[in-house]
Symmetry: C2
Subunit: 319 residues, 2 copies
């Protein structure tokens, strides 16, 4: 698949449903609404669907959006690597042959669509949509540019993370020309926290445990703390990266209670340690810098398991 | 002054002392060391001076640097708007006629040098040095690119703030090609905190007071808290922006104790409120989004003054 094929596909399609992934983020919504707005500007009918109610924090991406009435002819998935990510309300689209085109930047893409375009070196799905629309000579406007900028900014941590490419900066430079209110967007996306989020950050920082000369930090998040703080599920994003913000910490482990004796482990590492290998020992997995797994037992049992396993890593290197 | 004149100046100069501003940040050091490295690569002798010991957090900018012995012929100031910013150890350079060239991006530049190049719309002094070196066709390397990237990233809050320009993104895209370890730099510059900093953030968040339906947040930082936390002066950077991170807060006020009955006020505002006008009432000033002033009295007296003044602002608008 290349841009010339996708561009022919988009030119000939109509009555388009655009699917975005569950637990929606700035990239899937930015890509979905940017594509929708482009298709509508080309005289086609198009809607964006998500399995969940869209979080208020992204409402600036689609303030212009009203669903349209039409008989669906085309289905496009954006930023969706796996049919599982459609979520329960969109599960009907998981049937074979329902999705015509998938545009994605995840190396793990399962190629479930009839046509798939994956560029795993793109910083964001919005980066691909930006390059595709440029290739097609599409006329952008402030609303579309806002969607695309937001997707690139959120997926790269505002151009901070390893996945930021020169192309991402160039896209940002171009998109800014459409009067994107990037400073206000970035403040909203990266700086502003609810009081509930402030509360939970405080609680977990208070209780943070430092091990192995401060090279490993373990943070615990019990159901009780979650309830007390009043935090919403959408606000958990990025919480697991807090331990790694402490100077000297090379591995940050977050133990989050799911049920009475079920805990979700989120592991983040700074330079050398393989988070994925660590989690694989417990049947989990992920990336080298961010991985996860699920553990059963009491909090004490789970903490002991985790600390013993970390000890092998930190004490093992001296033996 | 334009690039052709500065470039002739740089080509003909030698034995260069480059001055950077006191309380050094990523931009002044990045610009200074990038310029130094360029001049040395062109066969000239050059040193970088600062009034203070350089903070450890910027050591990656100049790990290659050793001072050279020479009889000073040329003095260049970078990112210095005012001679006061030289600091006490460099005060000899504040005498008239000592500084040959000043390269800066502050609109408030006092034009104290024999030649001054100011571009107030540049995101950073490093942005100007980058464009100057490009204009001169200078060969960059990883070390120079690291200096320039860091200055642009730190002065724009990693491309987050209003002062980020399309040109800043384009410079970043170009500089990344020299294998700048930007993710690790950004982690160090923006994410990592000492435990002392973590402590103080926790203390001030615990004590934060919300006024006027949460539209104003007041944070107090007493000498006692500062001592207890173990925080170093260099680590205070950005602390005053914490109140504004809370959802709904439009004005964040930080009251920091300087002496028993002397307090420094730092005011940050989000959208509409003029921080500078607020501080002017107390004899201070600054920018529309960030300003400061000094107040005398007990903490209780200072708080009352501040709250009464804020009340005029928040309650006045309804009358």
């Amino acid at each position: 698949m290349d841009f010339s094929k996708i561009s022919s596909f988009l030119e000939s399609c109509d009555n388009v449903t655009i699917l975005t992934h569950k637990a929606p983020d700035g990239d899937t919504l930015g890509a979905g609404f940017a594509l929708c707005r482009y298709l509508r500007s080309a005289g086609k009918k198009a809607n964006v669907l998500n399995s969940e109610e869209l979080p208020e924090r992204y409402s600036f991406l689609y303030s212009w959006y009203q669903p349209q009435q039409f008989e669906e002819q085309t289905v496009i998935a954006v930023d969706i690597a796996d049919l599982k990510l459609l979520g329960s309300k969109l599960s009907a689209y998981a049937e074979e042959g329902r999705i015509d085109l998938c545009i994605d930047h995840h190396v793990s893409n399962k190629y479930f669509a009839k046509l798939t375009y994956v560029n795993a070196s793109a910083s964001a799905a919005c980066q691909i949509i930006y390059e595709l629309l440029s290739y097609m000579g599409a006329q952008l406007d402030k609303e579309t540019a806002t969607c695309l900028y937001t997707g690139i900014a959120t997926d790269t941590g505002c151009f901070k993370f390893e996945n930021t490419t020169a192309a991402a900066h160039i896209a940002a430079a171009e998109l800014m020309k459409y009067h994107v209110e990037f400073a206000s967007i970035n403040r909203k996306m990266f700086d502003v926290k609810s009081r509930a989020r402030m509360n939970i950050e405080q609680m977990v920082t208070n209780e943070m445990e430092y091990l192995f000369d401060g090279r490993c930090a373990v943070m615990t998040l019990t159901s009780d703390m979650i309830e007390k703080s009043g935090i919403e599920p959408a606000e958990f994003e990025g919480l697991a990266s807090i331990p790694l913000q402490v100077e000297g910490v090379e591995m940050g482990i977050t133990i989050k209670q799911r049920h009475e004796k079920v805990f979700k482990l989120s592991v983040r590492t700074a330079e050398k340690i393989d988070a994925s290998a660590f989690c694989q020992k417990f049947g989990g997995g992920g990336h080298i810098r961010a991985a996860g797994c699920e553990l059963n037992g009491t909090l004490e049992e789970v903490r002991k398991l985790v600390e013993d396993s970390a000890a092998e890593l930190f004490e093992g290197e001296n033996s």
